[in-house]
């Protein structure tokens, strides 16, 4: 894994350096200009990524057994979160939170309805705290007459 990340970092280092090279150099009062910090970042990635690619891996690689597949549930959880964020203005905070909690509960090995219930409590609680306590509007949702 280190090697892949190292390679990605070296590529990123070059991209950062090329992008930063396009920034106009500042005036006389600012001898360093906006390029310096990106160049430093590029250097850090180049050194760190280069070492990760080139060095010998001393620890023996963990044998790839029939491990459970966390990647699938992690991808699912990420997808649920993105969907939650994007639909927030449409569904509204309370309904969106309840549905997202129910779906996430299922990913975590629980059941949908209890998760929905917990999410509903959370949603109502947080909504009241923000709207009534702090006077901050969270999205109400199309169902309750608010435009997206």
């Amino acid at each position: 894994m280190d090697r892949w990340i190292g390679a990605a970092l070296v590529a990123l280092a070059l991209a950062v350096a090329v992008t930063a090279g396009g920034y106009e150099v500042g005036f006389v009062v600012d001898p360093l200009g906006p390029r310096a910090l990106p160049y430093l970042v590029s250097g850090l990635f180049l050194v760190g990524g280069g070492v990760l690619v080139l060095r010998r891996i001393s620890a023996p690689q963990v044998a790839a057994g029939p491990a459970p597949q966390p990647w699938r549930s992690q991808a699912l959880a990420l997808a649920i979160l993105v969907a939650y964020a994007i639909t927030l203005p449409v569904l509204g905070f309370v309904a969106g939170t309840a549905v997202a909690s129910g779906a996430l509960s299922k990913v975590f090995g629980g059941r949908f309805l209890p998760g929905l219930g917990v999410g509903l409590l959370f949603g109502v609680g947080l909504f009241s705290l923000f709207a009534l306590g702090f006077g901050l509007e969270l999205p109400v949702g199309v169902m309750f007459g608010q435009g997206p």
Partner: protein
């Protein structure tokens, strides 16, 4: 005015009903997040900061609340460690050795009592240390110019990158990532937009809350999907605990010595609670373990790391408050919060905003008393919360993360960005790249760049100005030493440090 008079005025601030309430809420939340494995103080502070910010509280009240979460978590982290052998936060790893051995012997209540009292001793002694060391450090720091600040920040960054994990190169990669994020947005000095890719949402830069919640909280939720569940083991009821006089006599000096060790480790950038706990434990093992009982359920093996990690948490507030330079991930988030509240920590804080500085310090005395008073009788109640099933807890954390970021700017773009950082955090964790240097780089990056460019502008482009005072040179030497020494050490013994 003398220190004690100032402290008295601080108590006037800390004892206001609102601040008392917030200190109490902070330490209770801190105990809970410290106890629940995976949800550390940094997540809680990052998530709750936008919410307190939205509430429009005065800065000292917000700080009293957030710092309460920080030191409260150092009490709570030992509960799951002792009962389940699952450290609540990284700094409680050492407590597990003797703490869980006590539980296996059927003496978990004794372990919890020792841990609570040791945390109190460590916490309170280190606040005393803070009261006397902070003004001294402020007097030194008041003479720092941009060149000294730049070198000091460089030292803080390299120290955290090299001590924060066991691989200095991975620390540097993480630091680079944080610095890269720090450059995003319009460069304030040349008005050039950097790395914005034409996105309007990126012109103002990326908020540290978005990055922190994503990289820490969201990635933790994702990572917990591949960890074993602990809740089924948390069913044994715990009664109210009390420390016996004989146990206190046996551990008293251990607590005091470990508190002193932990405090000074905490003041140094980079080291933090985990290193403090290791050092406190190792020192006591060498000094008092004559019968060889450490590791087999010795209460002194619980007292030492618990006193040390609490003292380190408070010690780490000193560089943050007096220099404006955080030395750890959690204090970096606190710096971000302070900046957002328009409070600039540094040598002028004590004189310009005494209500913030002394109010916070006074509230830390009160908070530690509250924690002791809460933890001894209520530890059984806290322990029962470890039974909250994960299918309810983790979606709750995810929902709170989304709410907190949304509340910041009401921007769906920010929330999606945060989820993206959650993925990045997951990749970092799986590749054992430490996360804290990224946060420190993000928060310190703009300050560092400003100070470097300011000192070079003042000198007309002469780089010699960076080494023109002995203080700056000292920081440069320390920064280089922290970079080079671990690399040599890891080459020699093929990996881990310490």
């Amino acid at each position: 005015m003398s220190v004690l008079q100032e402290l008295g005025r601080g108590f006037g601030v800390a004892l206001l009903p609102l601040n008392l309430l917030l200190a109490g809420a902070g330490v209770i939340i801190g105990t809970l997040v410290g106890m629940l494995p995976g949800i550390g103080p940094i997540n809680a502070i990052a998530i709750l900061f936008p919410i307190t910010f939205a509430a429009g509280l005065p800065p000292e009240s917000v700080l009293i609340f957030l710092v309460g979460i920080y030191y409260g978590s150092q009490y709570g982290n030992s509960i799951s460690t002792i009962l389940l052998n699952v450290p609540g936060t990284a700094s409680a790893v050492v407590t597990a050795i003797d703490g869980h051995a006590l539980t296996l012997k059927g003496e978990s209540e004794r372990g919890l009592a020792v841990s609570a009292v040791a945390s109190f001793v460590g916490g309170t002694l280190s606040v005393v240390g803070l009261v006397f060391l902070a003004p001294l450090l402020s007097q030194v720091a008041i003479r720092f110019g941009p060149a000294e600040y730049f070198a000091l920040m460089l030292f803080a960054l390299t120290a955290l990158s090299s001590l924060g994990g066991d691989d200095v190169f991975k620390g540097l990669v993480s630091l680079g990532f944080g610095l890269l994020l720090a450059t995003v947005g319009i460069d304030p000095q040349s008005a050039v937009p950097r790395f914005t890719f034409g996105q309007l949402g990126l012109l103002d830069g990326i908020d540290f809350v978005v990055v922190t919640i994503g990289m820490f909280a969201v990635s933790e939720v994702l990572l917990s999907l591949e960890r074993p569940d602990w809740t089924s083991e948390a069913r044994k009821p715990i009664r109210m605990v009390w420390l016996k006089a004989s146990d206190l006599a046996r551990t008293g000096w251990t607590m005091v010595r470990a508190a002193v060790v932990g405090f000074f480790v905490g003041v140094l950038p980079g080291a933090g609670g985990t290193v403090a706990a290791f050092l406190g434990y190792a020192t006591e093992q060498r000094l008092v373990d004559r019968e060889g009982t450490f590791g087999k359920g010795d209460i002194r093996g619980v007292a030492a790391p618990e006193a040390a990690n609490n003292a380190a948490a408070n010690g780490s507030m000193i560089p943050l408050l007096t220099l404006g330079i955080p030395g750890s991930g959690t204090t970096a988030v606190l710096l971000g919060a302070l900046t957002a509240l328009d409070v600039t920590p540094g040598p002028m804080l004590m004189t310009q905003k005494p209500e913030v500085f002394w109010g916070l310090v006074a509230s830390m005395y009160i908070g530690n008393l509250l924690l002791l008073a809460l933890n001894l009788p209520l530890v059984g109640l806290f322990a029962r919360l470890l039974q909250i099933p994960r299918w309810a807890l983790m979606p709750g954390v995810a929902v709170l993360s989304v709410t907190a970021v949304f509340a910041l700017n009401q921007s769906v773009f920010d929330v999606v960005l945060m989820i993206g950082f959650g993925f990045v955090g997951l990749v970092f964790r799986k590749a054992s790249i430490p996360l804290a240097p990224a946060i420190l780089g993000l928060v310190l990056g703009p300050l560092m760049e400003k100070n470097l460019r300011r000192s070079l502008a003042l000198s007309g482009g002469d780089w010699g100005v960076l080494f023109s005072s002995w203080i700056a040179v000292l920081f440069w030497v320390m920064a280089v030493a922290f970079l080079v020494l671990p690399a040599i050490a890891s080459r020699r013994d093929g990996g881990s440090i310490g």
